[in-house]
């Protein structure tokens, strides 16, 4: 994959749009808490509010990726705390399959991820955002972006 290697300064430029689907309960709740506490996070993060991460599946992820997103992540409630019974677990199953699919195609599996957060703690959401960008940076460094097609 030598053609795909990118130098460190270029990576920051390559990460422009990271679509994060946040559930209306814990996910968006913790982002709100982070906002109230004026915590800073990466400007590349674009939040899309959904009722539950259980609404997010392969179709929504592929829509985001094919319309210019560099990576997609879901942030839902903690395991066992989903406000819609088991929506976060179901979307985790689907996202796990999507990650495997990207691996089978020879891409990094870090373009798609799922996290959890707690509504009362803003740092959980901000920490998740940091983790998303970190993992994406490593992935791009090693294997290039999806758009590079190399």
């Amino acid at each position: 994959m030598s053609d795909c290697e990118v130098i460190d300064e270029e990576i920051k430029e390559k990460i422009q749009n990271v679509v994060v689907f946040m559930c209306n309960e814990c996910g968006q709740g913790s982002a709100n808490t982070a906002g109230v506490a004026r915590m800073a996070y990466e400007p590349a993060i674009r939040i899309v509010r959904v009722q539950c991460t259980g609404q997010i599946g392969p179709i929504q992820i592929m829509d985001a990726l094919s319309n210019g997103a560099d990576a997609v992540a879901c942030v839902g409630c903690c395991i066992g705390a989903c406000h819609f019974f088991n929506g976060n677990l179901l979307s985790m199953h689907r996202i796990k399959l999507m990650k495997k699919l990207f691996k089978e195609l020879g891409y990094s599996d870090q373009f798609i991820n799922q996290y959890t957060s707690r509504a009362a703690e803003g740092e959980t959401a901000v920490g998740d955002f940091e983790d998303i960008v970190d993992r994406l940076t490593t992935a791009i460094k090693e294997e290039g972006t999806i758009k590079d097609e190399c």
Binding site: M62, L90, M92, L97, L101, Y115, D128, D134
Partner: protein, 411 residues
């Protein structure tokens, strides 16, 4: 009416299926197996079969210029088909729609000749039903505790998906080949909606709700996140691409794969697929030699792993091989009547032209009403790592049953 059928690359099953158009006296059909040798002439309708590569664009444009209508016949031409699985390794199998704009697509592997006749005679197509509407099995859509790669074929009333056996019927139209009638789950060759593979992946991922999934602690977020490590979810579906995108990879919206290619398209289609899927894939892409190819693969595996086969199975297999030579003769003579009779006989034994009834150790469905099915019924077999050889076919599988290397001498 002047109709010309053009065969591009790959399997010639759909190409020869159009011989049946000759039974209609109003249509003047000519089969052209090498489009580059075609003397350009003005025609009413061009039918294109076989998979296409960007290099074929020149000939496709010439055909379009000379004909009033262009119809894509069969999955390889309309959506890329089974050969497009090679796109995982960087090949560029392209559907006809992305080379030229054509309004008529006949999906299916094998393409349905009845549907093609409707288009030729400019009649309106009958409304199609979803496959699940015509399936005898009943679904509950309960969450699965585990996914099964093979099942015993005793239960014929429960939906395949409820048995943990992946079936693409949810996204498919009712079709003529009807693999589901031969205890074979639908492969999704006639999708009802766009991006069918991705939709089916979402559906099956949801069904897998009770399958164990790994999570890990995220240092930065101080909460749990989905783990990267392999778990039961990924272990139970070793080949997602081959199972969900078998016919629709180029139109699915997924990026072209970056897996290193072996250089040969046919080999790249097979590597990464699963051993239990192998007879089904060879049945799809073997053209008029699919029976001998499929039997070679099945027999090499049976012989090496001491899977016993009964006299009755041998008898039916010998009969199929005989029918295949008759089929080759009928196709070379372009004898429509004989082709029709032979394919009907093949369908009787092998289920359909995709040979859904053929399997390791026997057959999946009773063939004659008065014979004893127990004597030639196929059973769940063990996946054994190894190298298997039989004549022109040579393949190796890993402990999980994934094809590592395959060599098929063409022709």
């Amino acid at each position: 009416m002047n109709v010309r059928v053009f065969q591009f690359n790959g399997c010639n099953k759909c190409f020869y299926e159009t011989i049946l158009l000759k039974l209609d006296n109003k249509i003047n059909v000519e089969l052209i197996s090498k489009p580059s040798e075609w003397k350009e002439e003005s025609i009413d309708l061009a039918i294109i079969t076989g998979y296409l590569l960007p290099a074929d664009k020149e000939w496709i444009e010439r055909i379009k210029k000379n004909s009033k209508k262009v119809v894509a016949f069969g999955d390889c031409t309309t959506t890329g088909g089974v050969f497009a699985l090679a796109n995982q390794k960087g090949h560029k199998v392209t559907p006809l729609n992305s080379l030229i704009s054509n309004g008529f697509n006949v999906n299916g592997c094998l393409g349905e000749i009845e549907e093609l006749s409707y288009i030729i005679n400019e009649k309106e197509l009958p409304k199609s039903k979803p496959l699940c509407n015509v399936c005898k099995r009943r679904a509950t859509c309960d969450y699965l505790d585990r996914v099964n790669r093979q099942i015993e074929i005793d239960d014929t009333n429960t939906c395949f998906n409820d048995l943990g056996f992946l079936c693409n019927g949810f996204i498919a139209k009712a079709c003529k080949e009807r693999c589901i009638d031969y205890n074979t789950p639908c492969r999704g060759c006639k999708p009802m909606l766009e991006r069918s593979g991705i939709r089916m992946l979402g559906m099956f991922g949801t069904l897998m709700g009770n399958v164990e999934m790994a999570t890990e602690h995220s240092e930065k977020g101080a909460t749990d996140k989905l783990a990267d490590a392999d778990d039961d979810v990924t272990e139970s579906l070793p080949d997602i691409l081959g199972n969900f995108f078998r016919f629709t990879l180029p139109t699915s919206g997924l990026p072209t794969g970056r897996i290193p290619s072996s250089g040969k398209l046919l080999q790249d289609v097979f590597t990464g697929r699963l051993i239990e899927e192998l007879p089904l894939i060879t049945g799809l892409l073997g053209g008029n030699k699919s029976i001998s190819l499929t039997l070679k693969i099945i027999e090499s595996y049976e012989k090496a792993n001491n899977i016993e086969i009964s006299e009755q199975t041998k008898k039916y297999r010998a009969e199929l091989l005989k029918l295949e030579s008759e089929l080759i003769k009928a196709t070379s003579e372009e004898d429509a009547q004989k082709y029709k009779e032979t394919t009907e006989k093949i369908r009787k034994i092998a289920g359909n032209m995709n040979l859904s009834n053929l399997y390791f150790g026997g057959f999946k469905k009773q063939i004659e009403d008065n014979d004893n099915f127990e004597t030639y019924k196929s059973h769940v077999f063990e996946v054994v790592e190894g190298i298997y050889k039989n004549g022109s076919v040579n393949y190796s599988i890993d402990p999980k049953g994934i094809i590592k290397e395959i060599k098929i001498k063409e022709g």
